[in-house]
Symmetry: C2
Subunit: 320 residues, 2 copies
């Protein structure tokens, strides 16, 4: 359960008074998501999602996130379309916090990921990268190399509480990535968090891409590496090469990866693994006893990092 | 069947090359609609509608129509969202004609109209009027009083071929409306053609408002009168007062009609009846033998006109 901010009927009415969405029928908290408070809003005009932005989101970033969703939706990507209020603004205030309304998307996250899901999500990610071209706003990746340095500094003293030797692992991995991180690959808008719970399917078809609150400018192939980690490993920590091949082939069908991007994929995948290892480790070490949100297991990403450390070339991911 | 322009696979691929919509899977002609050529497009990214604009639409009006759909969709109205191409344009060319891609909307037009549909469409129309505020572009109503004059001039010589006395009826009705047409009522963006085949429902809920190619600036209550004629008469030509009350109450629940608007409703309804009587009469007199599109019966609207001519006040429409 991840709803942080409760909303009363009177508050909701005040908030909706700035919009032309008809009369509210229901406001149902959504359990998914850990960064913001989300609600399913039903009005006489339709279904929408209301998001209240909690502390973890910098209000200065909201024009980027909302503007990007509008840019992508206007280019045919199945992502939420922010609803403008009477003054044309995409951002309002609800329960004393910044809040927005976006369109509701049909579909469900896959419960059991099959290779066909990986192929579809690869293609959708490529479409996202293509549709993101020309977006006017920019946002540096707060969880890129620079951010990892800060996270290593903040976690290394207590990292061994989670696994013996973890402090040494993250410190030396950061140093290795600083030496070998590519800087001249194609860059643009990336989603940066396209996990299965952020992708909806209707049958075989991707019907929704959500949660753009980590989106930023970075290397496009790094976004592919994030998806490789999020979609193509099995519960036992092993890479499913069939899924990896499907994801990379699906991506390549819409945006062929350049030779330099393929060559960098193992390093990018190590970086993507370290990024989620570090944020999960930080959350684990700083978890509040009794909190509603269960922190995710950092060691899942330690296993993925170790896998990629042993990879010599992108052929380990099932492609030529 | 109302597809005028056939589209080949190679042409479609050339057209889609300007968009980031994935690979085309199917392009299926849509039988509904008489003004443009419409197709349901399925790509690996989703479902869309492709519209090729035929002769009846002035290309100079397309930025208004497409911009309006975007404005309304961005404000939460369930209307098609135009898809921008790589250059950010909403308008392209297909088969040598102006063409656009818009999002696909779920739902179906009601087969049998019940009062609850009328209530829902009234409320949706009010939402459209409210959401239209602040739209930057303007378009005069080509089928307002001025346009009726032209249509009467173009049809009166042969109108009696359709019904004896019709020429005299349209000429005198035009003169009566010119004397009594209101000019100081609230105005704004109107749909101007919100017939049942342009409204989709999912269950009780309006899930789509389509076909904005008559939209313009005009009196908001005139749009209500158009809907009254389109939704609330039975096959035998009689007004269904229950439906009329539902429509007006549904509208008033979101945008209460001012006293002056209610008072003008019978005149506005006569104008709305004359408008469709005249365009149907024109199409009937100028129909092409063997054409695929069957012209609509002008006399249906003659009966509606006669009904409103006998109405003394808006109380005839079931409201106080």
């Amino acid at each position: 359960m991840a709803v942080y901010t409760p909303v009363g009927a009177a508050e909701l009415r005040r908030f909706l008074a700035d919009y032309d969405l008809g009369e509210p029928l229901a406001l149902v908290p959504i359990a998914e998501g850990v960064e913001n408070s989300n609600f399913r809003l039903e009005t006489t005009l339709g279904r929408f999602i209301v998001t209240i932005y909690e502390k973890r989101v910098d209000p200065a970033d909201l024009p980027f996130f909302l503007g990007l969703m509008m840019h992508l939706a206007e280019r045919g990507l199945p992502c939420p379309l922010p609803v403008r209020n009477r003054e044309g603004a995409m951002l309002g205030r609800l329960a004393g916090k910044p809040a927005a309304i976006v369109s509701f998307l049909d579909g469900k996250s896959p419960r059991r990921i099959a290779p066909r899901h990986c192929g579809a999500v690869g293609a959708a990610l490529a479409s996202l990268h293509l549709a993101g071209r020309g977006f006017a706003l920019h946002r540096a990746n707060a969880l890129g190399l620079e951010g990892w340095r800060g996270l290593v500094a903040a976690t290394r003293a207590r990292a061994d509480e989670v696994a013996p030797g973890l402090s040494e692992t993250i410190t030396s991995e950061l140093a290795a990535l600083e030496r070998s991180w590519p800087h001249d690959l194609p860059a643009g808008v990336i989603h940066a968090d396209l996990f299965p719970d952020n992708v909806f399917f209707e049958g075989e078809r991707v019907s929704g891409l959500i949660d753009f609150y980590f989106a930023c400018d970075d290397l496009l192939a790094y976004d592919v590496a994030i998806c490789l980690n999020a979609w193509c490993f099995e519960g036992d920590g092993a890479l499913n090469v069939t899924k990896a091949r499907a994801l990379l082939t699906g991506y390549g069908s819409r945006r062929p990866l350049a030779a330099a991007e393929l060559e960098a994929l193992p390093i990018l995948a190590r970086g993507a693994a370290l990024r989620f290892l570090l944020t999960r480790l930080y959350d684990w070490l700083n978890r509040v006893p009794g909190a509603l949100v269960k922190p995710k297991d950092p060691l899942e990403y330690l296993a993925k990092l170790r896998f990629h450390q042993g990879v010599a070339s992108a052929s380990a991911y099932g492609i030529a």
